[in-house]
Subunit: 240 residues, 2 copies
């Protein structure tokens, strides 16, 4: 760490400058490899990742790739972490800026649907990873589980807030709602990606309404109608 | 075919007798290999299957396994077909003996839940296969898709009948119900097998009620209450 220039400690001009530049270059190369790895893992699954395949795709030597990721497992975990960061950026952070209650819950869900529908051609690493690693204990499985847990926690919190704020009935079973909403997303991924059935995105939307409307309050109905109107004007055109 | 003894054409005593016995032995060996292959595929996925791994498990030579399944692909397809036959036997055939309408639909769903919950320790080949082969065109993917299509068709028919018979509202969106019920099963598999969250089987049941009760008629409510009572007394104890 002491070799790394920081904002607080400006470094002397010559040698460390080169160090900074090569550090930057190293970070750039790492990002290029990671990006290729994400693409590969989306199509082939995390188990389809290998140092060799990545060397092919990035036109680097195996030892070049190896210098950045010391093992296949380290690479798989880096991909899971990177995927999670992108997921947070696209789904979580924009949605938590919505007002708490149903607007935020719907915001999280609709962005989740949008994300999965963009991934229909590539595949979702969470969903494929869950199946690949359900039976393989180890650090990759642990990383995947902790990412999905973090996402579940964010959804759970949004449902609890919607209940506390009076948009959902006080006796709403939070875990049940979470279970059903996740099921709709899994069904969307299955039908659109594996079965190539058209209309799955629309069905994921109708499903959300059915789940929520079984526990919605009059105040919630009012706010949800407003939210739907707002989202309809701002959301990008949907594909199936 | 002409060498094979049949019931209509009794064969002369000596040589063909041995033929019959060796045919029987061959079928038995094939069944033993297939059974081991099913176990292996449930844990490791269809992609985890190999002639070599099977030779290990069955304590046979590779060429011995190869004599029964000419290629890995042929083996994978045989596993999918065998899995489907078992699924039909456990889920489909007992359920279609239930009276048409909601009793049959609930019968199909509850047996499906039971099947997946038994598979929590091993995994469902349909669900893992869908993820493994969503991006890999070829005969294994085709076999998987056609099996899932057959199962979807059976469920669709049960929903249509429940609507025709007046247990579900005339404007019930059949594809939507199918989409949501399948989602509940996928969520059950995900939560119980990958996340090891307790209570998923119960949630799959509550989810069915929510989906169905949003489209149920008074006649349907009456018959469904009867069905639940009957199933509660005959179903085996549930695990989570």
């Amino acid at each position: 760490m002491s070799d790394t220039p920081t904002i607080d400690q400006p470094s002397p001009p010559s040698a460390p400058r080169r160090g900074a530049r090569s550090l930057q270059k190293g970070q750039h190369t790492r990002a290029v490899i990671l990006d290729a790895a994400l693409g590969l893992a989306s199509h082939m699954g995390l188990e389809g990742l290998s140092i060799g395949a990545l060397a092919d795709v990035t036109k680097m030597s195996k030892s070049g790739v190896f210098a950045h990721f010391g093992s296949r497992e380290e690479l798989q975990i880096a991909v899971v972490t990177e995927y999670h960061a992108k997921f947070e950026e696209e789904v979580f952070f924009p949605a938590i800026r919505e007002p708490r209650g149903l607007p935020r819950l719907r915001g999280l869900y609709e962005r989740w649907v949008r994300r999965v529908s963009v991934e229909i051609d590539s595949g979702c690493i969470y969903i494929s990873g869950a199946v690949e690693f359900d039976d393989r204990p180890g650090p990759v499985r642990d990383a995947l589980v902790s990412m999905v847990k973090a996402w579940h926690a964010a959804l759970r919190k949004a449902i609890v807030l919607a209940k506390d704020i009076g948009h959902l009935a006080p006796d709403t079973d939070v875990e049940q709602i979470l279970f059903e909403l996740h099921g709709l997303i899994l069904s969307l991924h299955h039908d659109a990606r594996f079965m190539r059935i058209p209309g799955a995105i629309g069905r994921a939307g109708v499903g959300f309404d059915r789940v929520i409307h079984s526990v919605i309050t009059p105040a919630g109905q009012h706010i949800d109608a407003e939210t739907k109107k707002k989202l309809a004007t701002t959301a990008p055109k949907k594909r199936t």
